[in-house]
């Protein structure tokens, strides 16, 4: 499958995710999180946070609506039947707490082909309601050749 490299740089409109307290707890339980800051409201407030703190990997939750648009974009044309997640990187800035509204902008950063496999690299940048960056991500998706 020849990769269409003309679309590198395509940027999608920001998608906003409202962070809920119970969603943080649900994610914390599913991932085995042990920090009381992510589970216990009193502990989070006693430590100076406005509400429950999201674990770092909660980034996948608030990025999902924005990433889905890129992954399903017909112009990019990712074949889901052959899709594997090759790699993932995050850098984190401000902590995310329940009540935040996180806006994520996704860009198709790179498209390449190696050994018959297509590599689609997306970059995400997420900011909170105050404009502070909470995380930046680099998502490497591999579409296996036939």
């Amino acid at each position: 499958m020849p990769a269409n490299t003309d679309i590198v740089g395509k940027t999608f409109p920001p998608a906003v995710y409202a962070v809920g307290r119970e969603k943080i707890r649900e994610f914390a339980h599913a991932t085995g999180e042990t920090s009381p800051l992510c589970l216990d409201l009193e502990a989070a407030r006693a430590a100076g946070h406005a509400d429950l703190v999201a674990p770092p990997m909660f980034a996948v939750v608030y990025c999902m609506p924005a990433m889905a648009v890129g992954l399903f974009d017909p112009e990019i044309g990712i074949d889901f039947a052959r899709l594997v997640h090759g790699g993932q990187e995050f850098t984190w800035g401000e902590l995310v707490v329940a009540g935040d509204e996180i806006a994520t902008t996704v860009t198709l950063a790179d498209v390449s082909e190696r050994a018959g496999n297509g590599f689609f690299v997306f970059e995400s940048r997420s900011v909170n309601q105050d404009g502070a960056e909470v995380s930046a991500g680099r998502w490497t998706n591999i579409v296996r050749g036939a």
Binding site: F27, T31, G32, E33, T34, A54, M64, Q88, L95
Partner: protein, 125 residues
């Protein structure tokens, strides 16, 4: 600083709970029959769940969610439920209050995450 080994055994239904928590309902993670139909041994772990265990090894050593500054991983091979995962972290360098570390996630003797790098804020003594 030293970052201890983290061991966790995801139970049979973990992938269902993680699918709900993360929003990734790809049937290879929640449906044994479907997973086998596409040549997998059965339902497989989400790579990002395994990455979350690598992250947790760092934040538990660093003292909380603010301690992890960066994490980059490469997914290699499939993780499965009901088998122990082992996250091993090696501190490569310490500069300006930050530990630069290498991590591996292994299951059944194979690395399913490797070439992973993290930056962890060293907790105040």
């Amino acid at each position: 600083m030293e970052i201890p080994e983290l061991k966790v055994t995801p139970d049979r239904y973990l992938t269902v709970r993680y699918a709900g928590a993360s929003g990734d309902f790809n049937p290879i993670h929640v449906d044994d029959e479907f997973a086998r139909s596409v040549g997998l041994p059965g339902k497989i772990l989400h790579g990002l769940y395994t990455m979350a265990q690598v992250a947790r090894a760092q934040t538990e050593a660093g003292g909380g969610p603010a301690s992890l500054r960066r994490l980059a991983v490469q997914f290699r091979g499939m993780g499965v439920p009901e088998a122990e995962l082992t996250i091993t972290t090696t501190v490569r360098d310490e500069r300006d209050g930050v530990a630069y570390v290498d991590c591996v996630a292994e299951q059944n003797g194979r690395a399913i995450i490797r070439n992973a790098e993290a930056e962890v804020v060293i907790p105040a003594q």
